[in-house]
């Protein structure tokens, strides 16, 4: 057992890469690449399930850790580990991989080898980002995650892939230059890239405050573009409308938000706290701005992009409220958003495959012809809006209540307007697509409801939406152990007057539902 715990993370990290190499080597015949990718993704997902099964709840710090020297000079370590923060994100990444493969099964018809090989490389890069505890290793995977994404967007873009790919790449590549300088600066000062070591050194005030401010800002900037935070969201809409469904599901949110929690707040709590008012303001603006833009979109990919901006901004609000509840809610909401957004992408992708249009105006009255799709879409939309007993509710509730009580009533009320707007655009999207008179486009094509294979990937997501919503107590305790350390560090360095929400306990949302 010990040996498995020692090597499980390496296996999770390297298995998709091995699958990618295999895909590149086999001939492109009879869907062989598809099958290899699917099996790799499923096995990897199985491996990720080992983590929550053997996660020890009350043991602080990182688990399943592995720490070996990789490069002597500079001292880069192969240091991987999981805590409550990354635990479920790893599982979610594992889950979305087979979903993505199946979603691409019929959509990707040419150059399948390139597609699946790069898709699996992307998988490795994402696991690497979530698992790395060495800043240099982390940076490596962070950068690596850009390449397959950009190439695949360019190759399989719907209309103008290369332009969207270039935009995506430059938007995320250029901010990582200051990030690298910042990492190098820390290394030049300490001789270490190790996350834990640096966390301790910074907490003990071993650095001059002035430069550290800039370093923290460089970290934040790189992550903020990736999330994205208003006004750095320029790449999002184009990427969403061009990226293949399997990749769009993974592109936004997770990596940037996780990095904020782990590396911005985790390493620089004081600097992050100083910037928190600004970030809260930007987050609320993002919530409202995204929602307003989503209201007026005619293209459903773009609508989804701005809806994502709105929801991701809400998570940022939860993170930078600096309350234990808000942060737990934020992590929970990342998971929920991953599942719900994934399902919506899949469903819209199915519509696009069948009708070859992303104009909302072209659709109408599909509910009668595609009853299963309509049901699932409504379910996902309601989860997105945040209906109680569905996954979106728990996170939103935790974020709003913590913001309302612990941060500022004004901001909480302003942000909650975004949720109301969210209901408006999501419900009107449902109405335009599935109800009303049947459109000419819908009438012109034969009705093909969701097939078995498609149902097979949507059903688990639908179950998860319910499961996340009904039994948050399954996930929240472990999330809390992950969120606790940064929060505790913040309280250690803050004057008592800013200590937030001492009595706000976690089980309350479950009670709130009743």
């Amino acid at each position: 057992m010990n040996a498995i715990n020692q090597s499980i993370l390496t296996l999770i990290l390297l298995l998709p890469l091995a699958g990618a190499v295999l895909v590149a080597l086999v001939p492109d015949r009879r869907k062989l690449p598809n099958w290899i990718a699917l099996i790799t993704a499923l096995v990897t997902f199985g491996l990720t399930l080992h983590l929550p099964a053997h996660f020890v709840l009350n043991q602080g710090g990182f688990q399943f850790e592995i720490n070996m020297p990789w490069i002597e000079n500079p001292a880069i370590f192969y240091h991987l580990g999981v805590d409550g923060l990354s635990l479920w994100l790893v599982v979610l990444t594992g889950l979305l991989a087979p979903v993505g493969v199946v979603a691409s099964w019929n959509a990707i018809t040419e150059r399948r080898k390139v597609f699946y090989a790069l898709f699996l490389v992307q998988q490795t890069a994402m696991f690497g980002v979530f698992l790395s505890l060495d800043l240099m290793l982390y940076y490596g995977f962070w950068e690596l995650s850009l390449v397959p994404m950009a190439v695949l967007i360019a190759m399989y873009g719907r209309k103008d892939g290369p332009k969207a790919a270039l935009k995506f790449f430059l938007f995320t590549f250029i901010p990582s230059a200051p990030l690298l300088v910042a990492i190098l600066w820390l290394y030049a000062r300490t001789g270490s890239f190790d996350f834990v070591t640096l966390q301790i050194l910074i907490a003990h005030g071993n650095f001059p405050a002035g430069p550290l401010c800039w370093i923290a800002l460089a970290f934040l900037f790189a992550f903020a573009v990736k999330v994205p935070i208003f006004p750095l969201h320029g790449w999002l809409a184009d990427t969403f409308s061009e990226a293949p469904v399997a990749l769009a599901m993974v592109v936004a949110g997770k990596l940037g938000l996780y990095s904020m929690l782990r590396f911005h707040i985790g390493l620089f709590p004081q600097q992050a706290l100083a910037l928190a008012p600004l970030l809260i303001a930007l987050a609320v603006i993002g919530v409202l701005y995204g929602a307003c833009l989503a209201l007026v979109q005619r293209d459903f990919w773009r609508l989804l992009a701005f809806a994502a901006l709105s929801h991701l901004s809400l998570i940022v609000l939860g993170i930078y409220g600096f309350t234990l509840t808000g942060m737990s809610g934020a992590v929970f909401q990342i998971l929920s958003h991953g599942v719900v957004d994934g399902a919506l992408f899949l469903l819209l992708g199915f519509l696009y495959d069948r009708y070859a249009s992303s104009q909302i105006g072209d659709y109408g009255g599909l509910a009668g012809k595609l009853p299963r799709a309509a049901t699932l879409f409504v379910l996902a939309s309601l989860a997105m809006i945040g209906l109680p007993f569905l996954s979106g509710f728990v996170g939103e509730f935790l974020i709003f209540s913590s913001t309302f009580i612990g941060v500022s009533r004004g901001w909480a009320i302003a942000a909650s307007l975004g949720v109301i707007l969210g209901a408006v655009y999501m419900l009107s999207l449902v109405q335009h697509l599935f109800y009303g008179p049947e459109s000419a486009l819908a009438a012109s094509k034969p009705a093909k409801d969701i097939r078995f294979g498609e149902l097979a990937i949507l059903a688990p997501l639908a179950v998860l939406m319910l499961a996340l919503g009904v039994t948050p107590s399954l996930w929240l305790p472990s999330i809390q152990t992950g969120v606790h350390p940064p929060q505790a560090k913040v309280s250690a360095v803050l004057p008592p007057s800013v200590l937030l929400l001492p009595s706000f306990s976690i089980p309350s949302p479950g009670e709130g539902q009743r």
Partner: protein, 502 residues
């Protein structure tokens, strides 16, 4: 102490010379109708032997031979191996891509090998006149190689341009050497470094340093001495450019390291800001110009100028870390640049029917292997982690940061963001479907020799990107020997005389 026979000190150069001579003799004795392709294999085998010979030199004690003119040390071995490796890849590349019936094939291979002799000698020379001779040996053969495609207009143009400007730059170098000789009374590098601080006429030393820097910076195509690069790269055959853009530069960077760190460490405060400016200029000028290029070879020419800038950033580092970073970057740059030129040779063909970025449209559909390799090498040039390009930049900029040049690192990294723009343009073009599929060029064939060349380049790029430890250690031990006080320096003024033999 058992003195090392002088001959061992120049063993790789000797092997290469013999190979070149053998190639020429075989060429002359073969009947005219016989194919000359096997000559390339002879040259490749000779180069491999030279590579082994350089590695064997590691077992020799560090020291000089031939009246303190040639040194063998981990530093020289590092660059010897690098240069021999590049030459080997370039030879393998030429083997499959030179047309069967092309003229003077024997001379072509011989010239490559003779050029390698000059470059290897340049990295080992510790005496300025030998430096000059070695530089001329390598330059003259590359001048001729640049004009190998006589039948096109561009070939001779490239050769003439390269020759005129190159000789001019060598003139600068020679003049610099003369001034330094005038100021110190010696041409032996260790002695000069000892004598410079107390040189009576300091102005001569400074002028000499400046002129030498001009000559060397021309060879590495750093801005503002870079204007020859795009024209020469465009006109020369691609396999030659693969060689031209890497091996002579590696040798010239070795010389630059020797000049600034070994000969003029006392003038650090003087050359360091100069190189800072040249580094920033090279990166910025190279990248900005590359953004606008439509011809792939011109684009890569400007990119190589930018890479010279990234490499020069390492010179802001102090002593060991700077030298090691620069050496490492030279290796990483060589691996990926040779690789990408190999791909380009195959895609655009020897007579370069397809020179434009636009011509690469749909490459990944036409030839998945070459398309993927093109993307791989471009990704490495961008500097994405797990490729050699990343650690090259990484060591270079961290040397700069540790040397206090934070702004240089920031400018460099922003520049690599800028550079991503044009590398990515080529990547994105190559993955786009070609609308006009009827007129598409056929997929190029990848032969055994080219396959081996590509494999070497990919392996080197990956090794440098995933397990750079060994190479860095080699570079560091090289840096150490360059920094350590040389044995002769302890007795200044007499080192030019041969050591009395026991």
């Amino acid at each position: 102490m058992n003195p090392v026979p002088d001959i061992f000190r120049i063993l790789p150069e000797l092997v290469l010379t013999l190979t070149g001579v053998a190639v020429m003799l075989i060429d002359a004795t073969l009947p005219a109708a016989w194919p000359r392709r096997s000559l390339g294999w002879v040259a490749a085998i000779g180069t491999t032997l030279a590579l082994w010979a350089s590695l064997w030199q590691l077992s020799l004690p560090v020291g000089t031979g031939f009246y303190s003119t040639v040194e063998t040390s981990p530093f020289t071995v590092f660059f010897h191996v690098l240069i021999c490796g590049i030459v080997l890849v370039a030879l393998l590349l030429s083997l499959d891509t030179l047309p069967e019936d092309s003229h003077h094939q024997g001379e072509f291979y011989a010239l490559i090998v003779f050029g390698a002799v000059g470059m290897c000698l340049l990295t080992g020379a510790v005496e300025l006149l030998l430096v000059f001779i070695a530089l001329e040996i390598s330059s003259i053969s590359t001048y001729i190689l640049a004009g190998y495609r006589k039948d096109t207009g561009r070939g001779p143009e490239a050769a003439i341009k390269y020759f005129l400007l190159g000789s001019f730059a060598t003139g600068f170098l020679l003049y610099g050497i003369a001034l330094i000789f005038g100021a110190t009374g010696t041409t032996q590098i260790y002695e000069i470094s000892y004598l410079v601080p107390s040189a009576p006429n300091h102005l001569f030393v400074l002028a000499g340093l400046a002129l030498m820097l001009v000559g060397i910076l021309f060879k590495v195509s750093a801005a503002p001495f870079h204007v020859w690069t795009p024209d020469v790269y465009e006109g020369a055959p691609s396999p030659v450019v693969a060689l031209l853009s890497t091996a002579p530069k590696a040798a010239a960077f070795a010389l630059l390291l020797r000049v600034v760190y070994e000969m003029f460490p006392s003038l650090h405060s003087l050359w360091s800001p100069l190189l800072w400016i040249v580094a920033v200029l090279s990166m910025t000028v190279g990248n900005l110009a590359a953004l606008r290029q439509q011809n792939v070879k011109r684009m890569l020419a400007y990119s190589s100028i930018a890479h010279a800038g990234y490499l020069l950033a390492a010179f802001a580092g102090l002593g060991n870390s700077g030298i090691a970073a620069a050496s490492f970057y030279t290796a990483a740059y060589a691996a990926m640049n040779v690789g990408i030129f190999a791909v380009i040779t195959l895609v655009s063909g020897y007579d370069e029917q397809l020179p434009l970025v636009e011509d690469y449209r749909g490459l990944i559909y036409r030839s998945p292997l070459l398309g993927s390799l093109l993307i791989f090498f471009l990704v490495s040039l961008v500097g994405i982690p797990f490729t050699g390009g990343f650690f090259g930049k990484f060591y270079s900029f961290s040397a700069a940061v540790s040397g206090g040049a934070i702004w240089l690192a920031i400018i460099g990294l922003l520049n690599s963001g800028l550079a991503a723009g044009y590398y990515l343009r080529l990547v994105l073009t190559s993955v786009q479907r070609n609308a006009d599929r009827k007129n598409e060029a056929p997929a190029p064939q990848v032969g055994v020799a080219v396959g081996a060349a590509l494999l070497l380049a990919v392996a080197a790029t990956l090794v440098l990107g995933i397990v750079p430890g060994e190479v860095l250690r080699a570079a560091e031990s090289g840096a150490h020997t360059l920094q350590a006080p040389p044995p002769q320096a302890a007795t200044p003024g007499i080192a030019v005389e041969p050591q009395p033999q026991p």
